[in-house]
Point group: C2
Chain length 380, copies 2
């Protein structure tokens, strides 16, 4: 099978680039003396998980219970569900525990600590629970010095069927950084917040074996902070234009692209149209906040090699992508029906629109594998 | 089944509102003396198609060949694929024609007219082809006065196996209008462009039976232009906050919402978190360009009734939605685990993230039906 034979839009994954991204992250986290728990909310694929887990301990992170069920069915046994759990989700979590999965839950308030404690009484075995710490993003989590951290730790420790596994945090505000030194500072804040919360728990005589941190930008910076035991990251596996803009990878490392077909030429307006629009690329505009605004994606040729430097998708409709450039468009190199590959702003958003990856190995048109993936929130 | 029992995020469709939206559009187009061909790229559901087709002639519009195949398998026989066709898509189109579907294709250039003419020679029966006209959006299409319109019409008429069905246009630039009078002007431009192109074709002695126009805002305005035979629109069926902001519907008409669970309270920051984020709501920010910026969506209670006037999703992460208000958040009315429904900015983007609709009838918690839908570009 060749890319030229595929219906478009289609999702292409460059295996060679992904392998290099995986090895780079695994080495970076190992150098930090922590274990790496890849976040599979980006890839949502067992085949990609196998690449991410190479050289690591085998545990993964997920963002939905559907992902947890999908990876559990595929044989992955240690799963952190890294979104604050709520009462309605506990029966589904119990189903995973009943299958022998080592499922870890997170929470950031007393109400859920008590709800989990009541629920865990009837479980066949103990459930791992981590307390989420806010290391500066101000999304979810408790401030590291909030007395509620120790109160909740104490309540969880006292609850039969609950194992207080530790603390976790995610420095999502690293995405607002625009320089490596800023990211290094956020990486330090992230580690310090988690270590400080763990220290408070231990000072109260309670256990806190796991101190888990991470985001792609901060995971690649190793701050001089001792005490972090686990690092998490997800988008590093594919990379994207936003990660390139903030220095987590180079554009040449981006492993994910959308194969699209040229459907219309509009020379009077110096644009052309692709059959990849808002659904195929996503409406993510994260690069707009960086000096490297790529519109809705940067164009490469059908083998993933560069075309015009600034050839980008400047506007999207549901199934149309409008391509522009400051230079005259090279229409003769891009006839109607020809193929391009669009590098996305945000790999997590783009990958979620597709049910499979067409895998290539480097700058080639040959599809070496087709990898299925999961999506959404309910089993298919 | 009740909404309270569903896993979240989940997509909720209010049947009562949808029925009213469908009836309003069907009546508006009938009053114009044209037939209505609903665009099912928004709903992607056979059950929703049945509602949209009530009182209409039975033909539909789609934006992908996957949608065409899905609706054909469900018994719909007259389908307009309203994105410029390319050579690679012709074999799949032939498959639909071989199943007896009356499939109409569109194109906007001589290259594809010739490619379709060559391909159509071997078809068992004639294929309908429409020429796309640019009525001012400058996306795809030929200018109405471009001599290529008549040249292509002539080439198509001369081609065995091709039936020149007419012209079509889409005034997508109506979405940039901010007043009813502006929309009325664009609706008139849309009709005039299509009618003018049809006139040029007829003046050359060629047939042009179909003159097809439409977008939700322009379809609801009936300009005093004779000669339009067909109107298309899609998002009208559900409505959304952007359509409400430009006057195509009221917020009380929006039939689509995302059921979400409150997962975290952050009183120190006056926000709370939902388990509906960028994937559950989409990253569409279309209301940002209107006076009614709703962030990533407006909150209602679990039965779809208003909460605080400005309670909205102000920020999204992949699976987290951050809720804000200028007033202090009513945490006591929204405990952890409680349910809300988020009205989306853009129904087409949001619906595409889900594989089913949970249907309710008015302000009720009871699920009266579960409607499957299709997504993506390839058969499942």
């Amino acid at each position: 099978m060749r890319l030229a034979d595929l219906p478009t839009p289609a999702l292409v994954l460059d295996r060679r680039r992904m392998d290099a991204n995986a090895a780079r992250m695994t080495a970076a986290v190992a150098a930090r003396g922590a274990r790496f728990r890849p976040h599979l909310k980006t890839a949502k694929s067992l085949d990609a998980a196998a690449v991410a887990l190479e050289g690591n301990f085998g545990g993964i992170t997920v963002a939905t219970l559907n992902e947890a069920e999908y990876f559990a069915a595929g044989g992955i046994e240690d799963i952190l569900y890294a979104v604050c759990v709520t009462p309605d989700k506990l029966p589904r979590a119990a189903g995973l525990l009943a299958r022998g999965i080592r499922l870890s839950l997170i929470l950031d308030g007393r109400f859920m600590a008590d709800a989990v404690a009541r629920w865990a009484r009837d479980l066949p075995g103990p459930v791992d629970v981590l307390i989420e710490i806010d290391s500066g993003e101000h999304r979810t989590g408790l401030e590291p010095d909030d007395p509620a951290v120790v109160e909740i730790a104490s309540a969880l420790c006292a609850a039969p069927g609950v194992c207080l596994a530790g603390v976790m945090t995610h420095a999502g505000h690293a995405y607002h950084c625009r320089s490596r030194s800023e990211i290094a500072r956020v990486a330090e804040d992230e580690a310090l917040a988690a270590v400080r919360a763990a220290g408070a728990i231990r000072a109260a005589g309670l256990p806190c074996p796991t101190v888990s941190v991470g985001s792609t930008p901060t995971a690649l910076r190793s701050p001089a902070v001792a005490g972090v035991t686990e690092v998490r990251a997800g988008v590093y596996l594919f990379g994207d234009l936003f990660q390139a803009a903030i220095g987590s990878c180079a554009i040449a490392d981006v492993a994910l692209s959308v194969l699209a077909t040229v459907i219309s030429h509009r020379p009077a307006h110096n644009h052309l149209l692709l059959d990849a629009g808002a659904l195929a690329l996503s409406k993510d505009r994260s690069t707009a906040a960086t000096p490297e605004d790529a519109g809705y994606g940067l164009l490469t040729d059908g083998a993933g090699r560069g075309l015009l430097a600034d050839l980008h998708v400047s506007n999207v409709h549901q199934e149309h992508g409008e391509v522009s450039s400051a230079s005259p468009l090279p229409y003769e190199r891009m006839p109607i029906g020809s193929r391009v590959r669009v590098l996305p702003n945000h790999a997590c958003m783009t990958a979620a629109m597709y049910d499979r990856y067409y895998v290539v190995d480097g700058p080639s048109d040959e599809v070496v594998a087709v990898w299925p993936k999961t999506n959404g929130w309910e089993p298919a």
